[in-house]
Symmetry: C2
Subunit: 229 residues, 2 copies
């Protein structure tokens, strides 16, 4: 590990032990759909994972994310109904795998301790770093924030699931989002009875991930071509 020799003039220096711990968090993170019922998340812990999200990078420092915490039980119920409807629509769109899909547990909106909606904020007109790809870069910043939150949750021994099965316009209406704001994720957060040993879509035989070697090219595209849906 040649980097151990780098003399950092300022800033944190991380050791092999720090890295081992960090990589364990990355490897243990899962997209969770099974939550411990009637559990809660400590307010201090909730603040820490939201702060982790907010420590994410953003293009031109625009901080394009917003988080809507859902406390009202009837609002959560209406959101869950949107997800139910999209689940049926997805099954229909999947055709011959529709029945198999309906056997899967695909979300924990009703059971998780905390439901947080991650929203792409209305465009504030930032030019820096996004003249050619304005919406894409704002969206990537939001996703980086969610990934920080996800990893922080795992470090806190909490599960998180990113549910994207909803009609974004209907959800925007439920949350009274202003024009230009778009809900991107229903984040189900909370204690779980157990973390999956592997992605649940692999455990259930829905799909297998492919190895890193198929995803790295040198100096231009080559046809490693992962496939399937």
């Amino acid at each position: 590990m040649t980097n151990e020799a780098v003399d950092l003039v300022a800033g944190e220096h991380f050791t092999a032990a720090d890295r081992a711990s960090f990589y364990r968090v990355l490897a243990a993170r899962r997209d969770m759909r099974h939550f411990t019922p009637a559990a809660s998340v400590d307010a201090t812990v909730l603040h820490r994972v939201l702060q982790a999200a907010h420590d994410a990078p953003s293009v031109g420092l625009m901080q394009s994310w917003r988080f809507v915490r859902v406390i009202d039980a009837s609002l959560r119920g209406r959101i869950a109904e949107l997800v139910d409807a999209e689940r049926v629509a997805t099954a229909a769109a999947l055709g011959e795998r529709g029945d198999e899909f309906l056997q899967l547990k695909v979300e924990g909106v009703r059971d998780c301790a905390e439901l947080i909606v991650a929203v792409l904020a209305p465009d504030d007109g930032t030019v820096f770093g996004r003249r050619t790809m304005p919406r894409d870069m704002a969206l990537c910043s939001l996703a980086c924030a969610v990934q920080n939150l996800w990893l922080a949750a795992r470090a806190e021994n909490l599960g998180l699931g990113w549910v994207s099965m909803f009609d974004p316009e209907a959800l925007a209406r439920l949350l009274h989002l202003p024009l230009g704001a778009q809900p991107m994720a229903l984040l189900c957060l909370g204690p779980v009875p157990v973390f999956y040993d592997a992605p649940m879509l692999e455990q259930t035989g829905w799909r297998r991930g492919r190895p890193l070697s198929e995803f790295v090219h040198v100096d231009g595209w080559s046809d490693a071509a992962p496939s399937s849906s």
Copy 2:
């Protein structure tokens, strides 16, 4: 910290020491533009940070990312020229802040030890989790992978900068990307002389980040409204 009491039937359990180390990595991550010239990244370390990216979540397990490692010096030079051209175009688009912008160092494409292009793969038709937002969800998965790579780099005491100042179509041509593949990030990776104590855009007075409290809503939108560009 109520979660310490959770009895995990399986999977990793993280301690307060693990969390402290993890949050230090998050807080120390910066968007770097100043790299140590003529440095290199150990092959083992490069593999670890790419594997970290590949351990990211993806919608429906589609793994929508590809990484193109740029080794050829003339190709890197042509990519740097694309960034130079976009820098000029950005200065023009910024109007009265254009001159101030041109004083900033906005990328380290020529100086970094490793240049990696993060590419959104052509759509493979995955339906699971992306019936209503197909491109957005694939793009968010790519961004989660980049964020994993970014944090892993910091844990390895390496700097990383996400450069988004380029014409994506011109870059796609340079890399011979197939139809539907889109370059999203020039990732500049490598040893740095020093990590910035704060985001460089704050250090240079370009823009200040706003506090978390302005980004969290309850049960619906409220006008906390961060602004400026």
